[in-house]
């Protein structure tokens, strides 16, 4: 479904580009790493917002939670976390050996993923009764309060945050390692959602999006599906959070771990820009958004936020179907959509976008 023509060639081209990029454009390795994380963001948001119709404004919670869980595991394996994060601590600059660092990183990322899945299950138990805009506002509230609460928790460093373990190798090796982990995470997310949407599971969550009451009446266990889908996106977001925390080297609750008004909104804007409810939409949207963001950051110094806000408004108000949606309307045959000949003459679009095979 929603396939682009010649998909395999595109996959190979993107993969080849991803593997070669840090060696060709060495100066931009960090930017590319962020790009892969952004693609992961958009894809995980689209699982909920695009495919299941639950528009969450607070998925960033899992990003921050993963970051904190990963940090606590990495530090906690070898030191006392409370002492490590204390402002006048003697061990806050403690060094980690090769073995300690990598054991901590791998274990931390695994724990971040699992912890976020559990968190998603806990949160879904009381949040999924909310529908439509109430769900969006409720998740936004959760995300905002998570940042505030972490900022008041002394054990994890409160407002002054945690200084992450320092990578024991060189600068070059560090950026390459994080680049390839990010690439791997984004690719894994992509293949996972691709597989997921092609199964009965994908049909079930699409049914929830189209009409939850009817899906329920047809015997779809909506609540179970909703919790599981949320925990899927939490899984990948948790990994990305742990990764991002290590990459930045410093965790702070409001700006780095729970950036609700930046990353939290970007993931929605990216998925919408590319076209929600498609596989390629979030990827294209994330790429385009990231490029626009970097260009405005460089050339519109001071006005970049105004430009981004305008982009979101224009995108949401005038271009809601996104790039992929627009392309599907323009060239429906290329996406395998059957268009009735009488329809084609009279109106410009297929009657129902959700009825794509």
């Amino acid at each position: 479904m929603n396939a682009l023509p010649n998909e395999h060639r595109i996959h190979l081209a993107v993969l080849a580009f991803g593997l070669a990029a840090p060696f060709i454009f060495g100066a931009f390795t960090f930017q590319f790493t962020i790009l892969w994380i952004m693609i992961l963001f958009a894809l995980t948001w689209d699982m909920m917002g695009g495919q299941m119709g639950y528009n969450s404004l607070g998925n960033i919670v899992f990003f921050g939670a993963g970051m904190y869980i990963c940090a606590v595991v990495q530090v906690g394996l070898y030191y006392d976390v409370g002492l490590y994060t204390a402002p006048d601590s003697s061990i806050s600059g403690a060094s980690f050996t090769y073995q300690q660092y990598f054991t901590g990183l791998v274990l931390g990322l695994i724990c971040a993923a699992i912890g976020c899945v559990l968190l998603a299950f806990v949160m879904s138990s009381f949040l999924f009764g909310l529908r439509g805009p109430y769900f969006a506002i409720g998740t936004l509230g959760i995300a905002l309060s998570a940042g505030e609460l972490m900022g008041a928790w002394e054990w994890v460093g409160a407002g002054s945050g945690i200084a992450m373990p320092v990578f024991p190798g060189g600068v070059e090796a560090r950026s390459l390692m994080f680049y390839f982990i990010a690439l791997g995470a984004a690719a894994a997310t992509y293949w996972f959602v691709r597989w997921l949407y092609s199964t009965r599971y994908g049909l079930a969550i699409n049914a929830i999006r189209d009409d939850e009451e009817k899906a329920e009446a047809m015997g779809v266990h909506t609540k179970r599906y909703k919790s599981i889908t949320w925990s899927f996106s939490a899984f990948f977001l948790g990994i990305s959070g742990g990764l991002f925390g290590n990459m930045t080297g410093f965790i702070e609750p409001l700006e780095v771990a729970f950036p609700t008004v930046t990353f939290g909104i970007f993931m929605v804007a990216m998925a919408l820009l590319g076209g929600k409810g498609t596989i390629w939409g979030p990827v294209i949207g994330a790429t385009l958004f990231h490029v626009i963001k970097e260009v405005t950051w460089t050339y519109l110094l001071g006005w970049q936020w105004v430009a981004l806000g305008l982009l979101i408004v224009i995108n949401v108000v005038f271009f809601q179907q996104g790039i992929m949606g627009w392309m599907q309307r323009k060239w429906p045959e290329r996406f395998g959509i059957q268009v009735d000949a009488s329809m084609r003459k009279g109106s410009e679009r297929p009657s129902d976008r959700t009825s794509t095979p």
Binding site: P133, L144, G159, L308, V313
Partner: protein, 300 residues
Amino acid sequence: MLDNIAILTAAPVFNVQLILDGIFIGAIFALAAYGLALVWGVMNVKNLAQGEFVIMGGYFAHVMAGWGIHPIIALIPAIVVMFLFGWGIYRLIIRWIIQHDMFTSLLATFGMALVIQQSLNLAFGPEIQTVDSGFEIRFILDGLVTVAEIKLVSFLLCVLLAGIVVVFMKRSRMGQAIRATAQDPRAARVMGIDTEKVYAFTFALNAAICGAAGVLISMIWVIQPFYGITHSIRSFVIVTAAGFGNLPGVIVSAFGLGLAEQYSGFVLGAEFQQATVVGLLVVVLVWRQLLLSRHRQVVQ
């Protein structure tokens, strides 16, 4: 934390202070929340830029004070300017999102909020501002409780403004048209009401109410370009708790929120004040859902 509760029980007079402050600030919350309820109920648009309108009103008073105009006099031009601003925003943006689903309105107004707060930040800088109104501070109950006269004045102005809006909605032709449109837009159109104009007027009225609330906030509290989101969340808490179209409910829950914030600020510490607001939002939503779940059967 327990120490602070002990202070409250040992010296009940501090409660008077907290209750008074909660009521004074809650009255202003009620004003902004009423604007949100109006827009939500009439045109089904959830305005996340509500708080930014409030902050804009505050900066308007700040600029006027710089020109030597007293902030209370600045109320009238602020209302007029914000009304026109709201009308412009409606023509530019809101008009296009009324037909869409509600998530669109949330996201579009969030983008709008981003633009407004960043523009304010560029224009005035990120410093916390307050406008000096020149009123004195009174001490009552043996000097243990302080009441700034301006808080009393702003409370009275708040009541006055709310009264004007309520009478306007009940008596004037436009107010009647707005209520008719809220009930059934199609029937209203059949009856010859220009609903497009009604929508524009409603949104502009909401912006004007928020602007007035902002002027009052700038006098009795502080304004800063990024404080808008908290004000928006406050409005959402109040309206969700009260339900729209329920004016007494809005007033009661606004006072409740004001009190809750004052108490949590005192008991838990000032850094928890914002967390209280967002925490209350989640609590209110979940509580509302529990009420609803009694009416609904779900496949478990």
